[in-house]
């Protein structure tokens, strides 16, 4: 039955996963609007983290500018919707295309000219910052004043135009998160996935084995960018507003990558666990603080910083690998590396 195993999980692992999924599907039955919003945020970060993980976790290319793909995706779909009345599902295709093109340009420039490691990370930040300042000056999308989608009270959920109640958005992002998980699983098991891991472990050795490292690194960036753009479209239609100062900001990029780092880089469950841990803890901290009547704007970010500090110092592999050991979900030797 090895074909049926998801991510090299043992049967009781698969049972746990099924339980988690069932819980998430049933959550809107119990959850109030606030809790649902938190869950949406968690799944959003799980999804975006999964997309980032393809680049860093699988192929070993550190991107610190993923906000650019979120922003481009969001702005593309929102602009098509506002200016031409084109619905988000068609806009999504355009959004993915734009983000993929942008990823291809960044990847091409970086990899063709041998920009790697730290320099590559800085290049990704520079592009995101470039986009932030650029969008600050594009009048067509509201420039720095922000770009707004029309908001109205919706009596029913219009899935085709993504206008409706939080429950609808919840299921949309749940489906996206599950799809991203499955896609990443398939990618990891594919020929390309093994090439990526070879590049991650030792790029020169990979090249010596005849892997076209330029091409596969580029694929990683492009796929990751396209997936991240979907998160941007979701963001735009869920929050109904886009500000260059927010969506392209470097702290957005860092938020995206915190989940997978805390959960475990290069693992399939890392981004999900990281998103649950981080957003869950941050929101509960918010709750506790507001219960005491405290309103400290930077506290959440400091908390993120401390979590990150703790994880990189104490659990360099993230939370998932030791947790997996604890739950006796160790993959068999054959699947060892990709878990």
């Amino acid at each position: 039955m090895s074909r049926m195993r998801l991510g090299g999980l043992r049967p009781h692992g698969a049972a746990l996963l099924a339980l988690l999924l069932a819980g998430l599907v049933a959550a809107p039955l119990f959850a109030n609007d606030y809790l649902l919003t938190v869950l949406i945020l968690i799944l959003y970060f799980a999804y975006a983290g999964q997309a980032w993980n393809i680049m860093m976790g699988f192929a070993g290319q550190l991107s610190l500018g993923h906000a650019i793909y979120v922003g481009l995706g969001g702005y593309t779909a929102a602009a098509l919707f506002v200016h031409f009345g084109i619905g988000p599902w068609i806009g999504l295709i355009a959004a993915i295309a734009v983000a993929m093109l942008c990823g291809a340009i960044i990847g091409f420039l970086a990899f063709r000219f041998g920009v790697g490691g730290v320099y590559f990370a800085i290049l990704t930040i520079a592009f995101a910052e470039f986009a932030r300042i650029g969008f600050d000056h594009i009048k067509w999308t509201g420039a720095s004043g922000g770009f707004f989608l029309p908001v109205a009270q919706y009596a029913y959920n219009d899935l085709w135009h993504l206008r409706g109640k939080p429950v609808m958005f919840y299921y949309v992002i749940l489906v996206l998160a599950v799809a991203a998980f499955v896609l990443c699983h398939l990618l990891l098991k594919s020929r390309m996935g093994y090439f990526w891991q070879a590049i991650r472990e030792d790029e020169q050795a990979a090249r010596a084995l005849g892997i076209n490292t330029f091409r596969y690194k580029l694929y990683a960036v492009v796929i990751s960018a396209g997936m991240t753009a979907v998160a941007g479209v979701f963001f735009a239609f869920f929050y109904n507003n886009l500000f260059p100062e927010q969506i392209f900001h470097i702290s957005r990029s860092i938020e995206i990558i915190l989940g997978p780092i805390i959960g475990g880089i290069g693992t399939l469950f890392g981004p999900i666990i990281g998103a649950f841990l981080l957003t869950g803890l941050a929101e509960s901290m918010n709750e506790i603080m507001s219960a005491f009547g405290l309103d400290v704007p930077g506290a959440k970010q400091i908390f993120y910083g401390i979590c990150l500090l703790f994880v990189v110092m104490v659990l360099p592999e993230g939370v998932w690998p030791p947790l997996r050991k604890l739950l006796r979900l160790e993959p068999s030797r054959r699947d060892h590396r990709e878990q």
Partner: protein
């Protein structure tokens, strides 16, 4: 507009660029020796700027006078940071070091945000509005003082690395880590010292810059990026390169501000970074990697 205005702006940009160069020099020194990318560089600079703001607001101490004490405070901070947090990470993978310093930066920004709030602060000295008339040119006095101080600090650092035993020992660590260990150098202490010196550059630059621009907690990441752009443009590991890069970026920003719009000026720095990375990855004065 008459040509004089462009020349005025260009000189202002070059003088600001010297301060940028000093900040970037700190980054270059740290990366060149410790091989750790200080991703909290800009955040440390905002810390220095706030120290200058507080000293000026509370005790009327001129940032120009406080440059050396502030640099000393940042030296201690950098020394402790290297000793306490970064040392165990020396042999860890790059992204792991990166994350560590991103975390430090995140904590610094938001600690400043909690303490000082999001509003912009600045320092208005008695000579804030003074200027020198040089022929047809009007040069902002504060910028002249700041630029001169930045050069003095950079020269002092250069002399230290070139002529003192400790400076030579640090350069030895940078050239050959194993060799330095073999001849019995206390590499950990020298690394901490280097990180402290790099931080001191940031401290001095911050004390100067607070007289030129307003400070907010959110400035940090932008300055980190700016420092990187300067160092990469000038050439990593080259001390004159960092200053040259600073001049170039200062000039670019000033010219972009006058020809286009000031809010778009950093876009031109990014464009410059992309061009340098593509066509001369080792930087203008950098040596080609072997």
């Amino acid at each position: 507009m008459p040509a004089g205005i462009y020349l005025n702006v260009a000189i202002g940009g070059l003088l600001t660029g010297l301060v940028y160069g000093l900040m970037a020099l700190g980054l270059s020194v740290i990366f060149g020796v410790v091989r750790v990318v200080n991703f909290a560089h800009g955040e440390m600079m905002t810390v220095a700027m706030y120290i200058a703001v507080v000293l000026f607001a509370a005790l009327k101490l001129d940032p120009l006078v406080m440059m050396v004490p502030i640099a000393a405070v940042l030296f201690v901070f950098g020394y402790a940071l290297q000793r306490g947090l970064i040392n165990p990470f020396i042999s860890r993978p790059e992204h792991s070091q990166f994350m560590l310093l991103v975390a430090v930066g995140l904590i610094l920004i938001n600690a400043l945000l909690i303490i000082f709030g999001p509003d912009a602060r600045n320092v208005q000295t008695s000579y804030s509005l003074d200027s020198f008339l040089v022929g047809p040119l009007i040069v902002d006095a504060t910028k002249v003082y700041a630029g001169t101080a930045a050069i003095a600090f950079a020269v002092a650092l250069f002399v230290f690395f070139k002529f003192t035993m400790t400076g030579k020992a640090i350069r030895a660590c940078a050239d050959n880590y194993t060799g330095a260990l073999v001849v019995g150098l206390d590499v950990k202490r020298l690394y901490a010292l280097t990180f402290g010196l790099g931080s001191a550059c940031v401290g001095a630059a911050g004390a100067m810059l607070v007289m030129l621009i307003d400070v907010t907690p959110q400035l940090g990441p932008g300055f980190t990026l700016l420092a990187f752009i300067i160092v990469i443009t000038g050439g990593l590991g080259s001390m004159p390169g960092a200053l040259l890069g600073g001049l170039l970026i200062g000039l670019t920003e000033a010219m972009a501000g006058i020809f286009f719009t000031p809010s778009a000026k950093s876009m031109f720095s990014f464009a410059l970074l992309v061009l340098v990375l593509l066509f001369r990855p080792q930087g203008i004065l950098g040596k080609k990697a072997s």
